[in-house]
């Protein structure tokens, strides 16, 4: 990449806590779901938004997954403001799952059930005019853009676990190709609803999901508050739903991500991946340093998984004991998406 792109700052919110260091604590226990006691997950209380940044009406007009994201993003506002960039040079990309709430609100569902012969009248009489706004990912992006004054390039992504990588790649390229000088990458896990368990490809019975959000600030210059910086050094994406082809696609994706730095897998200091994914783990069976994951602390955060893991990597990089080296993040969705991201931890030459 001709222009270096750095992970400048990060914010997380998940079952472990709201600080990146919380991901290093003792794993919490997943709890039975409110709607299905046979399944366990990491649910979170809906956070309150900072009223100095967001209009108070937003608290009522955004789904919990959006509120978690906004709560997280708010903590990047000071770092973004400190960059003193024109709004048109700040990009925003988002990885936000579809909202699973009923599109007629719960009150309308109740009213329709009471007068099923008049569904239209009940629907129109019991759905607030602005209810649709709560269902749109673009509403959440608009709230972020308005609060943090991002007028620059944008991209919204809504896939499975891979959406976080798609949003990160797009944000990174906006800086590399000089359309922006900084980018906010925001992500949220899905709400815990039946859809998580009913949609194909259905998860295993043991799957532990979590609620959470993560946001990153990327910039063309590293944060100068610590002696080390975390640089985006490569990425690649691929897909195959066919298990027979999956390993070949995965190897291609990993090789591509490593190629810009002319590395092979053995050169990588740290691998971050889901240890419960047997197909994924088979790729690293011979790697000497093993595989790390914060998943036990958070559950499966879906589209927010990658950004949460990067936030932890940034925390490591900014610690006093940090050493230079590469971290490779490899993801594999249940549907068959493969993604690889290479980050380089570097010592800043003129740290002040």
């Amino acid at each position: 990449m001709s222009i270096a792109v750095y992970i400048h700052s990060a914010a997380v919110l998940n079952a472990a806590g709201s600080e990146c260091a919380d991901l290093l604590g003792t794993p919490p226990s997943p709890q039975p779901l409110a709607f299905d006691a046979t399944r366990r997950a990491f649910a979170l209380p809906t956070p309150r938004l900072a009223s100095d940044l967001f209009d108070r009406k937003i608290q009522r007009s955004v789904e919990p997954q959006g509120l978690r994201l906004l709560h997280c993003v708010a903590r990047l506002a000071p770092a973004l403001a400190a960059l003193q960039l024109p709004p048109a040079r700040i990009a925003l990309t988002a990885a936000i799952p579809e909202v699973d709430a009923p599109s007629p609100c719960w009150d309308a569902v109740q009213a329709i059930s009471e007068q099923p012969q008049k569904p239209l009248a009940q629907l129109l009489a019991n759905t607030p005019p602005l209810h649709a706004i709560t269902l749109l990912n673009s509403s959440v992006m608009a709230y972020v853009a308005e609060a943090l004054q991002c007028h620059g390039p944008m991209g919204g992504f809504c896939s499975q676990d891979n959406a976080g990588l798609d949003a990160l790649v797009e944000a990174c390229q906006q800086i590399v190709e000089q359309r922006a000088d900084a980018a906010l990458v925001v992500s949220s896990s899905p709400n815990l609803t039946p859809a998580l368990y009913l949609r194909e490809p259905t998860p295993s019975a043991e799957a532990i999901f979590g609620e959470g959000a993560a946001a990153l600030l990327l910039s063309s210059a590293p944060s100068r508050t610590t002696p080390h910086a975390l640089r985006i050094a490569g990425f690649a994406r691929g897909y195959s739903a066919d298990p027979q082809r999956g390993a070949a696609v995965a190897r291609r994706v990993i090789d591509q991500a490593l190629s810009l730095e002319k590395l092979c897998l053995g050169d990588v200091e740290q691998i971050v991946a889901n240890p419960e994914d047997a197909q994924l783990m088979s790729l690293f069976a011979e790697h000497p340093r093993g595989v790390r994951s914060a998943r036990a602390m958070t559950g499966d955060l879906g589209a927010s998984t990658l950004l949460s893991e990067i936030a932890l990597a940034l925390h490591h990089t900014q610690s006093a004991s940090a050493t230079p080296g590469h971290t490779l993040f490899v993801s594999h969705s249940r549907a068959g998406h493969w993604g690889a991201l290479l980050l380089a931890s570097e010592t800043l030459e003129k740290h002040t």
Binding site: P129, L130, R237
Partner: protein, 431 residues
């Protein structure tokens, strides 16, 4: 920016006009529209306040498409339309299966289609408040074609699975800018060398009771009845809101080198992509069109074009009171030098096939490409009494023949998410 040139070599569109882009183009040049009387399923007495839409007419399904697998597996309606459109685009491109292996698929799918019947499964047997806990014991009754069973990225995956694509498979969510973002991101991926071929576009259908009710309550969808089926009238003084369409559109993009090596003939060249955020209000565009202007300027900059080189703008043109004025102001600000906005032709495709919401940008990109190829601009129909705040040449009433070397195609999403694609006439030796 790199010297890699990116061209459109295949197109597929499913709209109210039918199931092929050729039909779409022919009817649009003939100044037809496909808005018809419409009521959602389950409302048999004609009382739904939104009376018109540009629905896909399944009686127009050609014999050759009746065996398409999209009709035979559990999918949301929009995904069926999208899969058929993507297949048509790939067939149109004449790409061989082995040339698709490393292709990317980028797809905008809009908001999920919640089924009212599924939501009624959340009711307690004793009539107390609804909740998800009541649905789980009845999970077997959940509709296989609704949002609780179908993830939003399902269409992108069925396309990739069906065609054997192993490149990035990306689902886009940026409201009405979605398909345009998909095409723009695909263009950028090819330009930076991530892939050589991409299938990009989108599909959407909001023509169901609860989604249209939501759009109506929001004040976005027109319930006007004065003009009958002619109510979609972008830039007209009597415009009253969007008229929803449904369908899907996909284009095949590839590097020119890749296209020429296999003997393909490009329809047009994609030259640039720009996007921006209004950062203004969720419910309204920035009144002066600031975000829209930023996106158009970004597309011009990305393409290396001067504003004076643009001949045509395929407008977002939703027929809503706020958008059409803001977009006009945005065009006038970007093309202010030498009052170039007076030389532009502006066309609003939504007047002819309605607003395809997340998919809108795909057929509109195709129509823009065909304008560049044929030097023909499709009209803005139903435009009889131009709003005094909308004072550009909107190609009212009938198609015009004019040179189109370069064009922009605008798509602006709810919440102020803006995109603009820059296209150009394909020339063997570059622009």
């Amino acid at each position: 920016m790199s010297a890699t040139r990116i061209v459109i070599t295949g197109m597929g569109a499913v709209t109210g006009f039918g199931f092929e882009w050729q039909t779409l183009w022919e009817k649009m040049l003939g100044a037809e529209h496909c808005v018809c009387p419409w009521q959602p399923d389950g409302v048999g007495d004609g009382t739904f306040p939104v009376r018109y839409a540009a629905a896909v007419d399944m009686t127009l399904l050609p014999e050759a498409l009746k065996d398409h697998p999209a009709w035979n597996i559990a999918l949301e309606k929009r995904s069926r339309f999208g899969w058929v459109a993507a297949t048509q685009a790939v067939n149109d491109s004449r790409l061989a299966p082995d040339q698709l292996r490393e292709a990317a698929v980028l797809c905008a799918s809009g908001a999920p289609q919640h089924m009212l019947a599924d939501m009624l499964l959340t009711l307690a047997p004793d009539g107390s408040a609804p909740g998800w806990q009541h649905l789980m014991p009845r999970a077997g009754q959940v509709n296989a074609e609704g949002s609780l069973r179908q993830s939003n990225d399902r269409l992108a995956r069925v396309i990739a699975d069906g065609l054997g694509c192993e490149g990035p498979v990306i689902n886009i969510s940026s409201a009405c800018a979605g398909a345009s973002q998909a095409i723009g991101n695909a263009f950028q991926m090819i330009r930076r060398g991530e892939v050589n071929v991409a299938i990009a576009g989108g599909a959407d259908s909001v023509l169901n009771l609860d989604t249209m009710a939501a759009l109506y309550l929001l004040g976005a969808a027109s319930s006007e009845q004065r003009w009958g089926v002619d109510l979609c009238r972008p830039f007209d003084r009597n415009r009253s809101g969007l008229i929803a369409g449904e369908g899907g559109g996909f284009v095949v993009l590839e590097s020119l080198e890749h296209a020429l090596a296999r003997g393909a003939t490009p329809y047009a060249e994609v030259l640039g992509f720009g996007s921006s955020l209004d950062a203004y209000k969720v419910t309204a565009p920035q009144p002066e069109g600031r975000g829209a202007a930023l996106a158009m300027q970004a597309a011009l900059d990305d393409a290396g074009l001067r504003a004076q080189q643009i001949d045509l703008i395929n407008a977002h043109g939703t027929s809503t009171p706020l958008n059409d004025v803001a977009e006009t102001l945005a065009i006038k600000s970007v093309f202010a030098e030498h009052r170039h906005y007076r030389s532009l032709t502006v066309s609003a495709n939504k007047s002819q096939f309605g607003h395809l919401i997340a998919a809108a940008g795909a057929p509109e990109c195709m129509v823009t490409a065909l304008a560049c190829l044929n030097d023909l601009v499709t009209p803005t129909v139903n435009l009889h009494d131009v709003d005094e705040q909308c004072d550009l040449d909107y190609c009212a009433g009938q198609a015009v023949s004019r040179r189109v070397d370069f064009a922009l195609s605008n798509s602006f999403g709810f919440g102020g998410l803006n995109t603009s694609l820059a296209l150009g006439k394909y020339r063997e030796h570059g622009q």
